[in-house]
Amino acid sequence: MGNLGANARLKLGLWLLLMPLGLWLLLLIILPHFELLIFSITDPEDGAFTFEFYFEFFTEPLYWRTFLRTAVMSILATILTLIIAFPVAFYIAKMLKGRSKGIVFAMCLIPFWVSELVRTFGWMILLRESGVISNFLQWSGLAAGPVELLYTDATIMLGLVYSSMLFMVVPLVSTLDSLDDSYIEAGYDLGGTNWNVIREIVIPHAIPGIVSGCIIVFMLSLGNYLTPVLLGGKDSLWFTEQIYTQFITRFNWEQGSAFGLLLLVLSSLIVWLGLKASGQSFTKTMG
């Protein structure tokens, strides 16, 4: 009897513990998306059920091309971030010890103490035609006239990689930290070169970190708004910008909702395909 009571209390405790998570999921994730769904399939004129806003996405090349461009750029940004972050993470996790490790890790964090807007403006000050780098190039005689480094796809890429870096470095450092040095030494001891120790021992071990870092960076890039809009200039097309435009300047909430849900579904699809292609599963990565 007493046992049963304790059990029931335990259950109640568990429910109470789960409550904030449950409420958070319900109020901030499920309900808003449910509302988006309702919006996206309702005709604003007569309130009837309609799929026109989804058709619009697939029939108007402008929209799906924008999505495709956003997805491809995000994938590229993810790959670039991985390539740059991996040596950094390896250096932090394996080469540095004690204090210097903490310092270098903190240096990676510093850019995130200011808001994304400020960071982006920082890049604009550096890269614009009348900016720091352009002036330096002219002063040093490397360039004859002002150099415009802003408003290109490469600039967007730079901004995306820069703002995603930390989110790749952190999971990589934590998985690489858990790789005992003796595995690396064993790799060398058995005749491995740098490259195949990395490829056969370090990377297979770091796969969970690589996959979770990639998912985070991809989703962040895809959902980024400020960086592509501010750094991209006149040709920057970003799907989130399209959603913002539909909601705010067109007052077309129905279309915006449809785009928002499409972004969710299609990006999930891309992540799923990526996991399939790399032979990983979501539970394995997160577990």
């Binding site: 200039g233 006149k234 007052f251």
Partner: protein, 354 residues
């Protein structure tokens, strides 16, 4: 005599009580940058005891915000005159004005009448005018003196040196410069679409000339100030602000006409402090206060007699930009009928994607 004294004492007492009661009151104002400068807010708070919480925004965001909350969250908003009647018809987000609470003697009569007329829905007036201004060209005259109209921005000589917004005023401005009258076509969706497609084609061709589409006032100012661009389509106040630092740069009224707008006062449907809203309107329309707003925003107000308080430089700039003919030529935005935004949106998306 004695009677009057007692009466005035009572009024004084009542207002004193009201002041203390209002000590915790708040006016949530959704407005444009520069329309509620700190100095004016402080004067108002000192005089009435009402705290003013200012949120800066633009037309589209104002309407979107009110649409999202069905007219709640703010006590007073300031959309442009052409965005009042249409938004009210479509989303029912505003509340009619009680004109008896407003001191109409402080307004320039013609402007008040025009705004009242344009913001009347089902016999109710929804807006009174506040700040007015125009969109046109900001030109560095030392380099690009031959830019006289919007379409001149597309001249090959200025490739990579011009900037404008990718928004509806640009479409409208170019339409006028191309000899069309988009305002006349407001009621005819097909005709309007036809004009917009023509403008879209022109702007697509012109895209190579654009350095970047500016999106915020600060971005525009820094583009012009740094010399990265030599001509822009923008607001008059921006041109005058630049003129103070660099005499070569100023606002030029385009030959096809500057686009005139009036930003208004409107009550959101669920305003919580209507009384404070009226107090604010009457306060900022005082000529001396209005002049302070002109100094901060760069644009003139609908306040009668405020010109006397405006500094001479601002008046001179205004006169340099606008001849009498230019003023007659200003194209004032009529109320936007519902549905035009969709047509314009598609065109703007295509230009961006081209």
């Amino acid at each position: 005599m004695k009677k009057i004294n007692i009466l005035s004492l009572a009024v004084l007492l009542a207002s004193g009580l009201a002041t203390t009661a209002q000590a915790t009151q708040e006016l949530r104002l959704l407005t444009w940058g520069g329309y509620a400068p700190k100095e004016v807010v402080e004067l108002f708070e000192k005089e009435t005891g009402i705290k003013v919480k200012v949120t800066k925004s633009n037309n589209e965001e104002m309407i979107s915000k009110l649409k999202a909350t069905r007219g709640a969250g703010f006590d007073l908003v300031q959309p442009s005159q052409d965005r009042v009647a249409s938004a009210q018809k479509a989303f029912k987000i505003y509340k009619p004005m009680d004109l008896s609470k407003i001191d109409s003697s402080q307004f320039i009569d013609s402007m008040l009448a025009a705004t009242k007329g344009q913001s009347t829905v089902d016999g109710e007036v929804y807006a009174v005018p506040h700040v007015w201004g125009s969109s046109g060209l900001i030109v560095n005259r030392a380099i690009a003196a031959d830019i006289k109209d919007y379409t001149d921005l597309c001249k090959p000589a200025y490739a990579g040196k011009v900037t404008y917004r990718l928004k509806r005023p640009t479409l409208i401005g170019f339409a006028f410069a191309m000899g069309e009258d988009p305002f006349a076509a407001y009621g005819d969706a097909d005709k309007y679409k036809q004009i917009m497609e023509k403008v879209g084609k022109k702007l697509t061709e012109c895209k190579a000339n654009v350095k970047a589409y500016w999106s915020g006032g600060d971005a525009l100012l820094s583009l012009m100030r740094s010399g990265e661009t030599t001509a822009a389509m923008a607001w008059d106040a921006g041109g005058w602000k630049l003129n103070r630092d660099n005499a070569d740069i100023t606002f030029v009224a385009p030959t096809s006409g500057a686009l005139g707008w009036i930003d208004t006062f409107v009550l959101p449907r669920k305003t919580k402090n209507e009384a404070a809203a009226y107090q604010w309107i009457n306060f900022v329309m005082r000529p001396d206060i209005a002049a302070k707003i002109t100094a901060s925003a760069g644009n003139f107000t609908a306040s009668k007699g405020s010109d006397d308080f405006v500094d001479a430089k601002a008046k001179a700039q205004y006169q340099e930009s606008f001849s009498a003919k230019d003023i007659d030529n200003i194209k004032w935005y009529p109320p936007v009928p519902a549905g035009l935004e969709k047509i314009e949106g598609k065109i703007l998306d295509r230009i961006k994607a081209s």
